[in-house]
Structures are given as C-alpha cells and as structure tokens.
Symmetry: C2
Subunit: 572 residues, 2 copies
C-alpha cells in the first residue's frame, strides 16, 4: 500500500506544496463562501482609505495604492498558504518606496514592484526561506519601532497643512519646527479631530455589552463595524465636510485632488516608460532604484513571513512558499500598475476576527476595489489630506514596540543591544542601513556567544597523578577552540609543579560539529602540552566529530557517544 502510486503521490505533494489552492478548492463549501465574503468586504473597508494614505506616504498618486489594494492579493489565492493573510499596500514598504522612488518619475514604483516580485520569487524558488530565521525579533522590533516614528513624523506636514521636503527623521522635525508658523488652521483642526475620533472609535473595542439576546448581538455588530470601519467613517465624514465647505464657496482644506477613474490597463512592466517630463526604459528606471530592489523585497518578505507565523496556528509555515506567493503577487500587480505590496498585520488580524475560511476571500476585496475604481474615484477628490494623515498616524502607532522594550528589559537585557542598535541607527541613518546594521550586530552577538563557551575544569589527583577534565559548554567551531586552548594553558601556567596535570581529558559531549581550524587548534594544544609532558585525550565524541578529529590528529578518542538505535534520529 505504501508503494502503490508513490510516484503520483509525490508529484501530488509537490504540486500541493507549490499550489496550496489545491488543498482547499476541492473541499470548498457554500458556507465557506459566506464567511469569505464577509471577511473580504470588511477588509476592503479598511483597505481603501489605507491604500490612499499609503500611496501618499510613498509620495505617489493615490491610484498606485488603489491598484495595489485591488490586485495585490489576487495571486495569493492560488499560491498563499495562510488563509488570514491579505497582501496589499503596507506601511513600511510604502515608506521604503518613498525612499527609493523619485517623485518626478512615479512610474518607477511599478518597476520596483515588478523587480521586488522577481527577487522574492527567485529567493523562494531557491528555498532561501531559512534566511528569515537569521533576523531576530529584537531587530525587527527595533526596525519597525523606528519606522513607526519616522512615518508618524512624515505625516506632521499633512496634519498641519504645511508643505516642505524632508527625507530623514531629524530633517522632518527641523523643517516642521521651521514651518510650523505657516500651519493652516482648518487642516490642523480637521487632522487633530480625526485622530481623536479614531482613538475614540478604537477604544470601543474594549467595551463589554451587557444586554442579552438579539439586542446584544446587534450591539456587538454595531460596535464591530464602528471599530473596524473607523478609518472609512473618518474619511467619509471629513470628505463630506470638505464637499459642503467647497459648495459654500470656501476651500480651507488641502484635498487629495483629481484621481483618474477606471480599471487600469494590463501593461507589461518591462516596456518603456513615459512620465510627465521624461521617457526612460525599464533598465534606466531600475538603475535609479538600485538598493531598493534588494531592501524592499527583504522587508516585504520579513513582514509577510512574520504575519504568516503569527496566524499559522500550529501549522509549519513554509517561508519559501510564502516568498513565492509574495513574488507572484508583486509581479501580477505590477502588470496592473501598482506600487509594491506585502502582507499587513492589521488587515490579517481583521480577516482572522471575521472568521475567514480560505484565501479566496481576497476576491471580494478585489471586486469591491474595482467597483470603487469605476464609480467612486470622483468622490476621492474631496478627501482632506489631513484626515489621511490622521489615519496613517493612528495606523502606525501600533508598530511602536514599547511592549517588546519592556519585556526585553525584564527578561533578557542582552537582547536590548540588537534592538537599540536597529532602532537608533534607523533613526540616525536610513532605515535600510539601520536594518542591515542591526542584523549584523545581532549575528555578531550570536557568533561571539558561540565563540565564548563557558569552560569548567575538574581536577582530580590520584597518588600524585593529576588528571584534569575540561568541559566546554557548547560545540567547538573555530572561533571557540582557541579560547579553550588559551584557558587550558593559562590554567596550567598558574599551577605549580606538583599540581600540573599529567593528563587532560576534553569532554566533547556538547560538540555538535567541528572544523579544520578547530582540529588544528587541538593539534597545536597537544604539541604544547607535550612540551609540558602532559597528555591529551578526548571523550564522548560523536561519530561525525570523532571522524574529523581522528583524521587530523593522532589522539586517542576515549569514548564515543553510543548511537542510540532506539531513537529516531534526524540528520539534516
């Protein structure tokens, strides 16, 4: 039975691995459709105002964001494996897009989207999912906290209705202080009001309904709609206010302005481009984005995979498959002229709350998005920029990880090093430099820890024969072996003659692997000990370690760890 059709089975497994749609599509039921529709539509309500806000965060026309919201998730239906995830415009990715895309050449954002997709797809096909594991939570925490501060700072000008150019955080605040005297009263009032309303609506979440029966249900539905629809509500109400004030001949508010309506044309992203002033080819555009084509996909992958992990619910996440899905999402939406997309934590959480059943729910988001593109764009003209800034500021505050700071302080202060490194260097330099720097410092910490095992030396004297047992607390790859060697020699030279050891036994029980430099280090230790007429032996070596050590040295391996046959052993 095991052998029957094993080849077909394997092919099926591989297919299902690459196309998760095959797992849920055959079992899809009508009741699933209902849940998916509710989730998809709810997400769309949050997504539409967010997408316009994120496009403005990226310094782009709102259409880039709307297209991203419409088409970002389509491919995830086929390739995505976590049902809660919705792909679309995301705050950090939008912010990075702003860093790399020249506002004079907005269509380079489409190139960035396409190239990010290609990079993600390649990383996924080469199974580079494991790379994500090398970015620790303190580093991502520090990075997103800094990004939250920078993004909120970038919205100050929108909130106060003033305008200036600034790229980094320090500059934003300096320019803000310089220009604050030109603030526009109406915009400021509208912006601050929106923030208060948003905070108020979000705090409704914590209200507990006391009533019973249908009343209770309808109360909680209303509360849910008010909290999840808070962005839409704020944007709609502020737009109505703007509309009527214009009707009355006043125009005190800075508005979003005209947006072209209609569904975008399908267009190959590697053809030539033509922006207002300039014509350029795909590769010319790409060359202006250069480091962004690495940083944007990396950050997109990081955020998408961490969202996927948060909602996997006891399933193993195949990070490489998520990369492939994200790659296809970006590639497809670049054909529709969108900015880069990624998974969003808040919208996925919304999907989770509304009980989404499959990734198919995205189709409803797309349909709703296309309908608004067809019929609602004239209305978008009236959205005040200050209310969009308010939406954005409220959206990014949850990204500031003060909770992580507190728990790091309480439980593991050493991990504050990578957190602070990432956080501070993101604020001082660029975010990509900060991320890179944080990752490097973090990995150096890991290396340093593996290079500095704690070493215990047990001393036994038996009728004048001195034996030392040396126990390193972890494996002995090359950075650690010299450390052990120096410890032993230092310990020996501090011992007087009668206590000098005749035999030193190194306990290899914690040695998982070894390498050439480590073996050479032990070799020179043996020679050095010989000159002090002391012998060295190894015990408890695993087979793979013993093989390398015996091939390099002429040492007696005292005892080997027995291969436990009863244990199911994985060797990767």
């Amino acid at each position: 039975m095991v052998h029957t059709g094993s080849c077909g089975d394997r092919l099926h497994d591989i297919l299902v691995g690459y196309l998760p749609i095959l797992t849920w599509m055959p079992k899809y039921k009508k009741s699933d459709l209902l849940y998916d529709a509710v989730s998809g539509i709810t997400v769309a309500l949050t997504l539409m105002p967010q997408s316009i806000a994120y496009a403005s965060l990226a310094g782009l026309d709102p259409l880039f964001g709307l297209y991203a919201a419409c088409f970002g998730s389509v491919m995830y239906i086929i390739f995505g494996s976590v049902r809660q995830i919705t792909i679309g415009p995301a705050s950090v990715v939008a912010f990075l897009t702003f860093n790399y895309v020249n506002p004079a050449l907005p269509t380079t954002a489409v190139i960035l989207c396409f190239v990010s997709g290609i990079v993600e797809l390649i990383c996924g096909l080469f199974r580079l999912g494991f790379v994500v594991e090398f970015v620790s939570m303190p580093v991502t925490g520090g990075f997103t906290s800094a990004a939250a501060i920078i993004m909120a700072s970038s919205q100050l000008r929108g909130l106060f209705g003033i305008s200036y150019d600034a790229k980094n955080c320090m500059e934003m605040w300096i320019k803000f202080v310089e220009h604050i005297e030109h603030f526009r009263l109406a915009d400021t009032a509208m912006g601050l009001l929106c923030i208060f309303v948003l905070i108020g609506l979000k705090s409704l979440k914590s209200i507990k309904v006391n009533a019973k029966g249908i009343k209770a249900k309808s109360y909680s539905v209303i509360l849910f709609l008010l909290t999840t629809g808070s962005n839409v509500l704020v944007v709609i109400v502020s737009s109505i206010i703007a509309y009527f004030s214009i009707r009355q001949g006043q125009s005190p508010l800075v508005l979003t302005g005209t947006i072209a309506s209609g569904i975008p044309q399908f267009r190959l992203p590697f053809l030539d481009y033509e922006d207002e002033d300039e014509k350029f080819t795909f590769f010319e555009g790409l060359s202006r984005l250069w480091p962004g084509a690495i940083v944007v996909p990396l950050v997109s992958i990081l955020s998408t995979v961490s969202v996927a992990k948060a909602f996997s619910g006891g399933k193993v996440i195949d990070a490489s498959q998520e990369m492939i899905a994200l790659g296809f999402c970006n590639i497809f939406s670049s054909f529709m002229g969108s900015m880069p997309v990624a998974g969003s934590m808040t919208r996925s959480a919304l999907n989770h709350t509304t009980g989404v059943r499959t990734t198919f729910s995205s189709i409803f988001t797309t349909i709703l998005g296309m309908l608004s593109l067809l019929f609602l764009t004239p209305l978008l003209y009236y959205i005040p920029k200050s209310s969009l800034s308010a939406v954005l500021i409220c959206a990014v505050t949850s990204m500031f990880r003060y909770d992580m700071m507190i728990s790091l302080w309480k439980t593991n202060r050493r991990d504050l090093i990578p957190f602070t490194t990432a956080f501070v260097s993101c604020l001082i330099f660029d975010v990509e430099m900060g991320l890179l720097f944080g990752i490097c410092v973090d990995l150096l910490c890991v290396l340093y820890r593996s290079a500095r095992p704690s070493i215990s030396i047990e001393k036994e004297t038996n009728s004048g024969y001195v034996k030392w047992v040396v126990r390193p607390s972890s494996g002995l790859l090359f950075p650690a072996v010299d450390f052990m060697r120096q410890r032993i020699i230092a310990e020996m030279s501090s011992s007087e003659r009668p206590n000098k050891p005749n035999l030193i036994i190194v306990d290899c029980v914690h040695f998982d692997k070894t390498d050439f430099t480590a073996a050479q280090g032990i070799k020179s230790l043996i020679n050095e000990l010989k000159s002090e007429s002391c012998q060295l032996e190894l015990m408890n070596a695993k087979e793979c370690v013993a093989a390398i050590l015996e091939a390099t040295l002429n040492v007696k391996i005292l005892s080997m760890v027995p291969l436990q046959d009863s244990i199911k052993k994985f060797n990767f």
Copy 2:
C-alpha cells in the same frame, strides 16, 4: 603573603604585559647575545634582497623597503612577546601597498605605514585581539594562496624584462601574453637562471651530511649558509655579472638604478608631503588610500598573529599585545620613511632555526641594514630587476597552500567552501574583497551550523499516554529555535491520532545560552501544542537559561543541571 605588595605586584604584571622587554632584559646573559647576533645577522642576509624585491612589488623605490627592513623591528624589541618574530617588509602587505599607493605619489606609502600603525595600536589597546579568532585557517589559506599566485604573476614582466601596467591577476596574464613578443633575452635568461639556482640552493636543505667530526660541522655550516644566503648569493652574483657587462660597454639587463644613500632623516609623518609633481597634506594623502587604511592593518595583524601562534611553543599568545607591538613598529618606522611592515613567516622560521634567544636580535638586523644604507647603496644600482623577480617568485611559492587543500579534501571537505570562496574571489575581484567575502561566507557557515542542530526525538508510550523527549544537539539561539519548532510540528502532523504525544519534553542539556527570540519561539510552540492538547516541559536547563525561559514563559522547568561546586567554574 598573598596580600603583601599585591598592588605593586599587579602594577608589575600589567607593566610586564605591555612591555615584554621587562621579562627578558633583567636575565640577559652574554651567551644570549651571541645567539641573538648570529640570528640577527642571518636574518639580515635574507632580509636585504627581500626588502628591495618587496619594495619593487609595492611599486616603490627600493629605499622604502630598505628603511622598512632597518627600522621595522626596532619597537618589537620593547613591545614584542615572541622572540622568533622579526617585523619588516612582508610580501602580502607589500602587495596590498601596491594596490593602494599611487605610483605617482610614492610617499603616501609612509602615510599608509603610519595610519596602519595607529589602527593596529588602537585595536590592541581596545583588546580587539579576539577578532583574529573569527578568521579561520581555510580563509587565510585561500587568501594567501591566491595572493601567492597574483604576486608571482606580477613578477612575470620583471622576469622577462618587459613592461606594462596591470592591476589584477587576469589583466596581468592577458598583458603578459600580449607583450611576450617584446621579451628581452638577457633578462629572461638571467631571471630563469636565478630561479633554477634558487631552487637548487634550497634543495640543499634536504642533503644529509655523511662525514663525522669537525668536517661534518663545517659541511653543515656551509650548507646552511648556502640555503639561507641563497637570495643574497643570487643577487650578488647577478649584480656582478651586470656590473662587468656594463664595464664592457654592454647594457643588456634592466637594472634597479640609482638609490639615494645614507640613513633617512627622522621626519614626522603627519607633516605636508612633496612628491615629484605634487604637494599634498597628510589628510589629502590619507584620503587617497582610504580602504587601504583598514585592509592593510587587518592583513598585517592576521599574518603577524598567525606567525606568533606558530612559534609561541606552549605559551598563550596575547593577540592584543601583538597588535600593540605591530602598531608601534609601524608608527616608528613611518617616522623613518618606510613602507608598512608586518611579521614574516620565513624570516621568523630562520630566527627559530638559528636559535634566537630574545627579540634583541633585531638590533643586529638594524645595524647591518644601516651599514648597507651607508656604504652599499651604490652597489644596489647594479642589481638586475629580473633577479629580484626571481627572488620574489621563489619566496611566494611557499605561500601557495596546496598542502592545506589536500588535507581539507582528506579530512573536512566542508571547509573547502571558505577556502575556495576566499581563493576564487581573491583571484576574480581584489584581494581585499576576496578576504572580506571569504570571512563573511565562513561566518555564515558557522551561523548556519549553529542554526541547524541535529534533533533527536525519543518516543515513549505508556498505557496510552504518549511522551516525546526532544533533544537538540546544541544550544538554541534564535536561528535554531524555529528549526526545532518546525521539526516538532512536522513530526506531530505526520503522526496519526493514537501516536500523537500528550507530553513533549525538551532536553535543554546542550543549551548554553538563550535569547528573546528563542524564548518567544518556545512560547508560540507551547500555544500551538496546546491547540493539539499536548503539554510542553523543559528539563536539564542551566540556571542562566532557566531564568530567561521562566521569565518569558509559564513553563514547568522539570529539572535543572546541578551547579557542581567541586568544579572550578569559569564564567566569562
């Protein structure tokens, strides 16, 4: 007794640590002086022709090399801790100098020397000696092997008497093939002859003397002089040939040319400079050398420390002290107008063979060097360039580590990855890029290994209650915890209901340290297991690990590794 003068003792220990001269100077005997003199003079015999050759390798006037040979070692007498080491011009450092110093501005080599010294001194004072441990032997092996090939290739034009400009290895060979038709017969003949003679003289080493008594002793002295003095011999004989051919009105050979004689003036290296065509300040010169000011000290430190380790003979090498010594050597010799200096393996080996007693032997090298600067420089005019090239080619062949390649292939093929990476990328790109790339790949390998422990799962069933014991083979820092989590979940989802575990125990005996991300990973594992109604417990946790895990999670830590009081425990 322990307390008496402990403060004075400690001061003395610190002083001796920084000034190793204090350990040998008080005990210095007349017999030591004899041995030191013999060693110093022998080294000088090899050093003088090498220094001219290395200066030409660096694209500089021979004087830069001669000054380096004279004054490079002076400070090592005071600050150096390994008696065998002689500091002076070294092949790889000379080659790097060629990469960074513009031939039109040769005095920038002095700036490079000074700045390298400062960088080395600072690294030493900040006790950064441990950094050296992160460069494994395969990486240095690959780097020096590639450097040997590049240096030998760079000498082809000298050997064949042709001239062209080429910076990288590929270009050297292409230009060589293009220009080979212009080869000069006399130079080629002289160069190849010198190579044959050098190989012949070096092979005398393996001859065993059959005679007895004084005859045997004199034979072996002659053999020793012929092998160690082979460079000098070849250079002198070829110069004499060149001298007489010029006396006869012929000038078939390309010669070294005029060298200014006399001892250099002591000159502050941070004053303004004036080269043939151009005036420039210290900082202008420095800005033209920029990456060299990092790469040259790094490589100098690496080679000096590895030489020191090779000859330490059972003593712990304080890499930071070696950095300080090397720093002072470079700073002092930059005052005398030298090119950058470092420790040399061949000359240190020579010192070792001649039985050097203290670092004081360098003083004889310096005296002999100064004498030749005063009286012999007119003779240096006649040294044929092709014979210098021959000396260099023979000197660098020993740097090609085919022995390491073979032993890596035999014992530890995985370590061929860093070796090959360093080797190939040095040949394709620059040597500094190759070194950097090799180190990075190597450290990534270490990280990857620590991220992928082997995990054994032991399954026990006791009257329907299924218990699994999970044993990771090494510590669980953040890159590894997700790996373990995925293994457990994958193993669970492949088990059918009756075999699904009710309890999973993770054996933490190999956990040396842990961090925030790892603790969070275990936390989410616990939650995932809860949804499958399975409990997780930890056992054999060390105190430091247990503290962090207990603070983050609400897990029962089953058992702790007892603190063995009888064991002398080092916690670094």
